[in-house]
Amino acid sequence: MFNYYIKMGLKNIRQTPVLSSLIVFAIALGIGTSMTMISYYQAMAYNPAGAKSDQLFSVQLAAYGDDMETWGDMPDGLPRQMTNIDSSNLRLAANSFPQSPLYRVAPVIESRRKDIAPSLDFEGLMVDRDFFSMFDVEFEYGGAWDASIDLDPAKQVVISSSLNDWIFGGGNNVGKSFVMADGVKEFTVVGISKDWNPQPVYYDLTGGAFSQEGPGLFLPFALAKDLDMFPQGNMSGWRNANVRGFADVLKSEYVWQLYWIELKTADEVAAYKDFLAQYAQEQQKLGRFANPNPRGGLKTVQQWLEYNEVISEDNRVMVGLSLLFLLVCLVNTVGLLMAKFLRKMNESGVRRALGANKGQIFNQYLVEVGLLGVLGGFMGLLLSIAGLWGVRILYRTDIAQLDLSLVLAAIGLSIFSALLTGIFPAYRVCNANPSVFLKAQ
């Protein structure tokens, strides 16, 4: 009978094109809106660190004076970023954990290909060698610089596949060099990484949670002083500093770097927490960290994403509103289905007289609603694609892509919603007294 119900359902849909289209559109509108918001929300809620989420820790220090009780409005009173003084101290501290400070730069890069103007479009990350293994940056050619470079800097660089294409036109160019930074400094390529752009950009959320392009190059953190290049992104301080150049920034109490460490066991975490506490006490004794509660903090990737409010309350409200909108669309659909099915009361009466039981009438109409749900799902999917395109334009990022799970979710939700809305109208039709509708046609 199921095939018969499908045949009758398709016939009925064709017989009432306007009403059917309105129903499909009402379902599609609700599905399209809610799926757009849900997929955007899911993209934001995604933790790209995967299995390493509980092993990578963002390090924070209460590096501010005695005139402040907390740092800004942060819930734990700690600044998100770190001073260069502290990151330099931490990376040279005697422990064996993989760790790396981090800040962003925007160097001017010259292509080795002819007729291509120097570019500022490729962002650089100043990191230590451990960064690559900590964040699972994969290489196409070569690898990270030698560990000695972190202590004794050299003009070496890891470039992304995209930058490799831009500078050299692709291929293995490990060992080759290119000019960067004011056109005077030549850097040697030691590694070419696959394009790496985790979303959200959890390793540095100071410039926003999403980024269209990942870093184009990675430079040894130890080169910071030689490069003399101001960082991109936030720079905050708790007191005025006489900053006349980048060298002053390096020595200032401004916070502008991030610091990540990889701790694999609970013991390592406890040990490093102790170390941070001791370090904070030590710095206070040295005249820094003059606040009443000198301390450090560690946050896993998931905690870091939540701490930085990658998913804001507004986003949750928007998802809720979009689901409410879906509900409104479905309520309208119930009305439209009632109108559609009431026109079929006579036919139902005839079918009942000819031997159909209530269940068969109910199933026939529910299958028709299911078909409308499938059509609504596909149309909703098109609207979702348009919605996600809008999100990409608005946020300048390629998050919230259409994938199989979205396709299945949109169609599944649409069919489920349609069936839900169809239950009442189908119930009404199948329970109507058939004799009432048989007398006149």
Binding site: A353, L354, G355, S435, A440
Partner: protein, 239 residues
């Protein structure tokens, strides 16, 4: 074939109770052709709906082909209706969006026949009413008489033992009405029991028995055409 004993049907609202049928008793033997007449509002349609298992009754007993239908649930009633009863309506009640083939297919689908069996039955039924060439036509492409013949074909396709006809010639001109009546008589002659509601005294006279319903009760029952006692005896013998 159809036996009703003291059937009553009450339509009750908060303010009023309407007795559509009261102490209604009727015994239709297998193979009979019975017409039902009576003024509007007398209870003819209620009787037909109850006989066709489309409506429940308030009291009494109803045996269809020897089976008490009182305690049957919706599924059982639907199955019984599908297997034993064929309906013919005044307004034909063909499904307008389905062609003739698919219209006749409807009761057979619910019966659960195989596709091949259904096809053979539909073709046979259409042939029987002389509309084989119109199988793919929509009802709207046929005359009233042709539509009623399709309705008869639909009622016959499942080979029911019992045909219920509600003023089947009411919407037809006299020529078409006569053709439909002749077809029904032919079907009855082949052994199908027919109960037909009609306002037409001529058709009532052509049936073997006419019962008149007034105020929800059988007020008169007489055998028409020939000597009623002889027919009564003949029917009693076949029962």
């Amino acid at each position: 074939m159809l036996k009703m004993n003291n059937i009553s049907k009450v339509f009750a609202t908060d303010l009023i109770e309407t007795h559509a049928l009261r102490e209604f008793s009727l015994d239709v033997k297998e193979g009979e052709f019975v017409t039902v007449t009576g003024p509007s509002g007398s209870g003819k349609t209620t009787f037909l709906n109850i006989a066709g298992l489309l409506e429940n009754y308030t009291g009494g007993e109803y045996l269809l082909d020897g089976q008490d239908v009182t305690a049957l649930n919706d599924n059982q009633r639907s199955r019984l209706r599908n297997q034993k009863i064929g309906f013919i309506f005044q307004s034909f009640n063909l499904i307008p969006d389905l062609d003739l083939f698919d219209n006749i297919d409807v009761p057979l689908r619910y019966r659960g026949f195989s596709a091949a069996d259904r096809k053979q039955r539909i073709e046979h039924a259409l042939e029987r009413v002389g509309l084989s060439a119109r199988a793919k036509h929509l009802p709207s492409q046929l005359s009233g008489g042709q539509q009623q013949r399709v309705a008869i074909a639909r009622a016959l396709a499942g080979e029911p033992k019992f045909l219920l006809a509600d003023e089947p010639t009411g919407n037809l001109d006299s020529l078409m009405a006569r053709q439909v009546m002749e077809l029904l008589e032919e079907i009855n002659a082949e052994g199908t029991t027919i109960v037909m509601v009609t306002h037409d005294p001529e058709l009532a006279r052509r049936s073997q028995r006419n019962i008149q319903i007034i105020d929800g009760q059988v007020s008169d029952s007489h055998y028409g055409g020939v000597d009623s006692i002889a027919i009564q005896d003949a029917v009693a013998e076949t029962a």
